[in-house]
Amino acid sequence: MANAANSPLGVYLEHLEKGELGYQFSPDANVAVFYPRVICPLTGSDNLQWRISKGMGTVHATTVVYPQKGDPYNVALIDIDEGFRMMSRVEDIAPLDVRIGMRVKFRVHAAEGDEPPYPVFAPAAGTP
């Protein structure tokens, strides 16, 4: 069997470079799979499809990190509407004002130097 042409992380980053939040879907288990993997942990099958999220989610848990140098910043777990959870941060709002249950929308934090792009979130328009 030929080696895989790309890795799960490689595909994920390619989507981010196009401004997309990619995730995997296991048709046999009928669930979203995140982080991306080579096999579905529910079925053991390598039958995994890549899908693009609509980018909407809800804050599941939130904290504010106080670094020894620099400003405090948010770290949150976001439940994405398509049925998976990921770590990220909520921007455009004071970090302590991020609330569990808040609706948020995805955007890409562009690659900088050696650091690849990564997904961040901002409060969705029309939410309190």
């Binding site: 994920y12 848990a61 904290t63 504010v64 106080y66 770290v75 777990l77 990564y118």
Partner: protein, 384 residues
């Protein structure tokens, strides 16, 4: 079923190495060897009696191999399973199995860390996780803070209730001559301390100390002839629900539910039978989660349960009588110290902090970020 037999093995020796701030250039292996030396002296055995090495360390990648060299034990049975701070509770189950299978007859479980001396970053470097590292979580604190945020949201747990855990630990520590912290602590002082990762201040977080130690295990039959009364392994259980906090299935429900249920089942005991508890308190939320998940109070009630000093020296449920990872000692991985304190309580060696008529102890180890949960139930001869 885990295949282990209630009471088939016993802890016969237990000791700390130097702890707190150790001498310059002391290595983690030095501390393990010192712990082994003291634990063997505790039970009257010699180094040449040892034929099983169980250990884990963040500063020694192949810790069992290094200890075999250090101690010149080329034929020892080895196990350096590492699942974070609960590794040593897992080692107890593994050692019990190895003793039953005849793979070894005298097993030592050892740990050493010079985390305070060399700095946390150097002592336990973090692996890059492309799905978490970009967000700069201050791990492990941030992961536990996320769980705490969820517990506060779902159950109304307050920062004051979290602080009660730290205050109780401090009150116990004041009764332990070797505890790192020596001054009283109030809820107000916890809340106003330097913030780390909301809702935690530095007083919600475990200490950063050096330290190590060892325990010695043997089969129950061979344990009976030794100097001190054996402490029997009545029950064991382990569960690994995730490795990274973003993959934890439920932030307010830990694997302690399953590991505890397995340990109670093997021990044929329930929570009301337990006299003294040692719960891995890396952060104040831990104690609350584990009291709930091990059945001492209903889910969500942990914050109210710990209020009013219930788990302190004047309370009704003795938890973390050495002062815990919050106030006694926390050298990176703390699980071995839970076992050492439980052994001492069951032997009646704890002086001012001794729990009266302690016959059973529940030790609960936690590894990673609420990831690897391992419960061990210990008992005196009277519980067999």
């Amino acid at each position: 079923m885990n295949g282990l037999t209630r009471g088939s093995a016993a802890i016969v020796g237990a000791a700390e190495s130097d702890i707190g701030a150790v001498a310059a250039n002391m290595s983690p292996l030095d501390l393990m060897a010192q712990g082994i030396h003291r634990a063997l002296a505790d039970c009257g055995l010699k180094l040449r009696d040892v034929d099983g090495i169980f250990c884990a360390a963040t500063q020694a990648r192949t810790s069992a191999m290094s200890m075999c060299e250090y101690l010149r034990l080329p034929s020892a049975y080895t196990d350096s399973t590492i699942v974070g701070g609960s590794s040593f509770e897992v080692h107890v189950a593994h050692a019990q199995a190895a003793l039953a299978a005849g793979l070894c007859s005298v097993a030592v479980i050892a740990y050493g860390s010079t985390q305070r001396t060399v700095g946390r970053r150097q002592a336990s470097a973090r692996e890059y996780n492309p799905y978490e590292t970009p967000f700069r979580p201050f791990l492990p604190s941030t992961a536990y803070a996320l769980a705490a945020s969820r517990h506060m949201h779902e159950f109304g747990t307050t920062r004051e209730q979290l602080a009660e855990v730290a205050v109780a630990a401090r009150e116990w520590a004041l009764l332990n001559p070797v505890a790192w912290e020596k001054k009283p602590l109030t809820v107000a002082e916890v809340l106003s301390a330097r913030p780390i990762s909301y809702p935690f201040t530095v007083r919600d977080c475990c200490l950063i100390t050096d330290g190590g130690g060892a325990i010695v295990m043997m089969s129950a039959e061979r344990a009976r002839g030794l100097a001190k009364p054996p402490v029997y392994v009545l029950g064991c259980g382990q569960t690994i629900t995730h490795a990274s906090i973003s993959s934890m299935p439920d932030l307010t429900m830990t694997g302690a539910r399953e590991s505890g249920a397995a340990a109670y089942r093997m021990a044929r005991l329930r929570e009301t039978d337990i006299d003294v508890l040692a719960l891995y308190d890396a952060f104040t939320i831990n104690t609350i989660l584990f009291l709930e998940d091990l059945g001492f109070c209903p889910k969500g009630e942990g914050g109210r349960f710990v209020s009013g000093g219930r788990i302190g020296p004047k309370g009704s449920l003795p938890v973390n009588t050495n002062g815990g990872g919050l106030s006694y000692c926390h050298p990176g991985m703390y699980g071995l110290f839970l076992l050492i304190e439980a052994v001492r309580q069951l032997r009646g060696e704890c002086g001012a902090r001794q729990v009266a008529q302690a016959e059973t102890a529940l030790v609960h180890g936690n590894g990673g970020v609420l990831s690897a949960q391992a419960t061990v139930i210990l008992g005196t001869q009277a519980t067999l």
